[in-house]
Symmetry: C2
């Protein structure tokens, strides 16, 4: 049964003993979030790498519903972990640099106290007597473990899916113990759709006659059919429509032989049957119920306001990642977290990784080239690794596709002027920030509150690697997340001409910035006028508007005079305008609308 068809994120996991796991027992009872308590609680965990002398390099990894403490292999001979891809020497979470701790969560069935543990009151397994637990209880137990390990402050806490819920609760409850937080493919609370799938899955277990109200540990049979059906259903939601098509369309009526009693008529059926059958070998139905209910009860608030309030404490630095084809924890749900963080001015970066692998993407190799540099870049900068160096090293690059300058240009002339126009230590939001060149210059100059918004995924990754805070978003979708006058200065450099919703973007930036700086190519530059007038052709010129009419990224053509008119008409105050002849590399004062190819406006409303 070593068939590629059957391979998936954690189908390779088995119930093998965890050779490297250690455990800690806590005598002090654990008071539970929803009432009641658990006494004699045990945590099983594994660690990787070495805790440094000042104990500043600890990274806590929170696993998802079906995971355990075995996040990665400890050596070549060890069995694979559930996140070998990202954790290990030289990997995104580099165990040569960081001390990684991964505990099995409360309610799990791989060592940490859960429904299959012995209830000290009865000396039999808890079963149905296991109390309702929540994400808060899991995190409280993780905190106790850290206390026991003598770690006061984590470099970062990292988790995907339900692991992300734990990370979010860490920030809600113990922000002062974190420097950074990485949440992947998660949400502030489950969507009704995700909740509904969980309800159906639980009902499949609850209605399995072998479930016996949860007291099946002494019985001949466990509720394996119900648990397998729950797992099959889960698996569908972890994959995307596209991923399933790719896996199963070619031979949909050629099921693999799998040792299971489930329907195997279709190849997708044999896959699900196999996943279900494998899962029951290593997982406990009562744990599934307890953990899935904990996930469903997790709720940081219905509104953005509630969510912002929940996340208001401390100064945690955030990296939020979603996957474009994840429909169980959709990008929109990650954006809600990001927006709530923006609202309270938290340092946050967000990337919606283009992927067709669905929710499971973060456990699969397909999108590693995106999420690897995001995670490693974020952690490096958090630990003071390379932010400064990157700014200097990469300052020469210009990835912006909307730049009006020739690729040969070593640096954009307008940046120098824009820098002069920004007050020292002003907070700055750069809309369409590209790979963060301008923000890097500001960072170098000592500005502390700076942030970018960028549409291009590769540019977003470059920003994160530079240690910048950047949000992956389309300006045309608006800036609703940002508060009125949240930034001293908002910059929109050489981007307005490529924007569809000019009025919307202008209104938004003027609302968010006390002062705004807009630069754009001047369409009434004399060479352009002349070309249209004399040759009757769509103007192209070296430098400004060097694109051809049929494939230019620019879709708005306007002049300095047009922009003045726009400001007048829409009651925008123009504080200053600078006109440049970028070919001659000089400022223009004589008839700028004729002689300048680039303009910079300082405006407000």
């Amino acid at each position: 049964m070593n068939d590629e068809l059957f391979e998936s994120s954690d189908s390779v996991r088995s119930a093998e003993p965890l050779k490297y796991a250690r455990s800690v027992d806590f005598d002090e009872p654990l008071e539970l979030d929803q009432g009641g308590e658990l006494s004699n609680v045990t945590v099983v965990y594994e660690t990787y790498g070495r805790l440094n002398d000042d104990k500043s390099n600890a990274v806590l990894i929170c696993h998802a519903l079906s995971g355990d403490s075995h996040v990665a292999r400890h050596d070549e001979a060890d069995s694979p972990g559930w996140w070998d891809l990202a954790v290990g020497p030289g990997k995104a979470i580099d165990t040569d640099k960081y001390f990684v701790i991964c505990p099995n969560i409360l309610g799990g069935c791989r060592g940490t106290t859960g429904p299959n543990s012995i209830n000290p009151d009865t000396n039999t397994p808890y079963g149905a007597d296991f109390p309702t637990i929540t994400i808060a209880d899991m995190v409280e137990l993780q905190r106790r473990l850290l206390d026991r390990l003598g770690i006061e402050k984590l470099l970062a806490v990292v988790g995907g899916s339900m692991g992300g819920h734990q990370v979010l609760h860490w920030a809600v409850r113990f922000a002062y113990r974190l420097r950074g937080a990485i949440v992947i493919a998660t949400s502030a609370r489950l969507s009704s759709q995700a909740l509904a799938f969980d309800v159906v899955a639980r009902n499949a277990i609850l209605h399995d006659p072998d479930f016996r109200g949860g007291q099946y540990y002494d019985a001949k049979a466990a509720p394996n059919a119900g648990l397998a059906i729950a797992r099959m259903l889960g698996h569908i939601t972890y994959l995307s429509h596209e991923a399933m098509a790719r896996k199963f369309e070619a031979d949909r009526l050629q099921p693999r032989e799998a040792p299971t009693e489930f329907e195997k008529k279709f190849s997708v059926g044999s896959y699900l049957a196999y996943q279900g059958a494998k899962f029951v070998e290593r997982f406990d139905a009562n744990s599934y119920l307890a953990l899935s209910m904990a996930m469903d009860l997790f709720d940081l608030g219905k509104t953005g306001r509630e969510l912002s309030k929940a996340l208001a404490d401390g100064r945690v630095r955030w990296l939020v990642m979603s996957f474009s084809s994840d429909w169980l924890f959709s990008p929109r749900e990650s954006r809600q977290i990001v927006d709530a963080l923006i609202k309270t001015d938290k340092p946050v970066s967000y990337c919606n990784v283009t992927s067709d692998c669905g929710h499971d993407a973060f456990l699969l190799p397909g999108d590693l080239e995106s999420y690897d540099p995001l995670i490693s870049g974020f952690l490096d900068n958090l630990s003071g690794g390379r932010a400064e160096a990157a700014t200097v090293d990469e300052a020469g690059q210009d990835r912006s596709h909307t730049s009006i300058f020739h690729p040969e240009h070593p640096q954009r002339l307008d940046y120098d002027r824009i820098l002069e126009l920004i007050a020292p230590s002003a907070s700055v939001l750069d809309l369409g920030c590209g790979d963060g060149e301008l923000l890097g210059l500001l960072q170098h100059r000592g500005h502390e509150r700076i942030m970018g918004v960028e549409l291009d995924e590769k540019a977003v990754i470059a920003c994160v690697q530079r240690g910048l805070d950047v949000v992956h978003a389309d300006l045309n979708d608006g800036l609703a997340a940002f508060a009125d006058k949240q930034f001293d200065t908002v910059v929109l450099s050489q981007t307005l001409q490529a924007v569809r919703d000019v009025e919307g973007v202008m209104d938004d930036m003027l609302r968010v910035g006390r002062q705004c700086i807009v630069s754009f190519p001047n369409f009434a530059y004399h060479k352009l006028r002349k070309m249209l007038y004399e040759q009757g052709k769509a103007p192209e010129a070296p430098g400004v508007l060097h694109y051809r009419w049929f494939d230019t990224p620019n879709i708005r053509f306007f002049s300095i005079a047009d922009f003045h008119g726009f400001c007048r008409h829409r009651k925008i105050t123009v504080h200053r305008s600078v006109a440049l002849d970028t070919e001659a590399r000089q400022e223009v004062t004589d008839d700028p609308n004729l002689n300048a190819d680039l303009a910079i406006f300082v405006i407000s409303r």
Copy 2:
């Protein structure tokens, strides 16, 4: 239990007796698609309206998995049908005009022969002995019913979801008996994701201990838990993410009281529990298994080529509809059907109705204002109702947002010239056809093979109401569905300037058309040149380019000279170019690039 929360497409259905149903028995055995036969087959059906004298007004409605013959109420006192919204006097399928027939499908449990029918060989219900049936078998039985009713040719056959599969099979097998076909929210074969949900649902039934291998009719209990879980799961897939959020987010932890043993902690849980519990009152688990397997086995081919071949027979006219938020039978799957029909030159209209109601949208009132005029317009034109009148009545309107002319203009001047340039009786594809004004003029002139592509949903509906074939699509996504040189003439009138992918659209149209006619505003018109040159402002002029720079729908600015250059460079033959001064309403021969505001090119490659 009359709570709005619980209302859904067919949760109102009950197992009440079907007062108006009639039945027909067939002595001749039904040979089955997958082998075996059924003898003594019965069909239960209902009819509405009156069959006209020449028997040309019969409309067959094929129901989906959980439906039955009771498609609509017969009178005020009657219980509601599953598609009351669309079927009845004055409704989309107008029973004052059409004779509507709705049979319960083979394998169902509401009268027509199915697993709960008596097996004449054993005098007990079939149960597990009911043979595997397919969509082909259902359609064969429907054909026999029509024969019995003496109806040789249907005006149309209509169906959504699995009903759509039956419509598709009607066209595959009996195209000569149809004038039109309406398929709604369906597919040529299930996606692997949809298949996977069915597999899980069937396994829930098969593993219910009360299922007893299908022989439960004499037992104390039916596999109600399994069937209910299958139904709950189905329900999630019928709703969209957005619809679920709207229904359940406001009070997610306030479940309604429902008389069921399923988990009701969350409001979405109580909804699903209620749906599951209600369903088992009126549906049979063996029927669910038989019908869901029939749906899963339906397969018109993996490739577009196979699908085209399957649908190659006859000259059926098609209306294909999808709903934008339907993820179970996604718009992309409807497009596969449309593309296959285009490939073999079938008359087809397609509309992807904007909706947030998911797969169930066609059974809900939310999007009635879109699908009602589509269906009624299509049927009216099919029956020879009003195509001609509409062309004349509505010829004055211009809905095109990319028109360069003032709204006051009674008709676009370029249409007259374009009409002159199109050979009599040429086949014509109009890209960006708006509400079909030009196509209406061609229709009036007697062109038979004419078709439009349009992005705006309202305009698509208007085209269908006019009796035109139109495909709802974005030109920037390409014309891959169309064959090389499929049309004598392809028209792109006043649209190129609003297209992002100019090169792609041009290449596609030149591939599909023997000859292409492109009209566009001339950006080098003297008034525009002058405005930029003298005033230094983005040109606006009455008529041509009357938009403001910041909100014009036009994103490409080019002149007659530019277009000539483009053609030269890309080896496009210019057969003719016509230049117009639309303000003066006259043709321009002297220096068109200076004096014309509109150009029409006849080109080919």
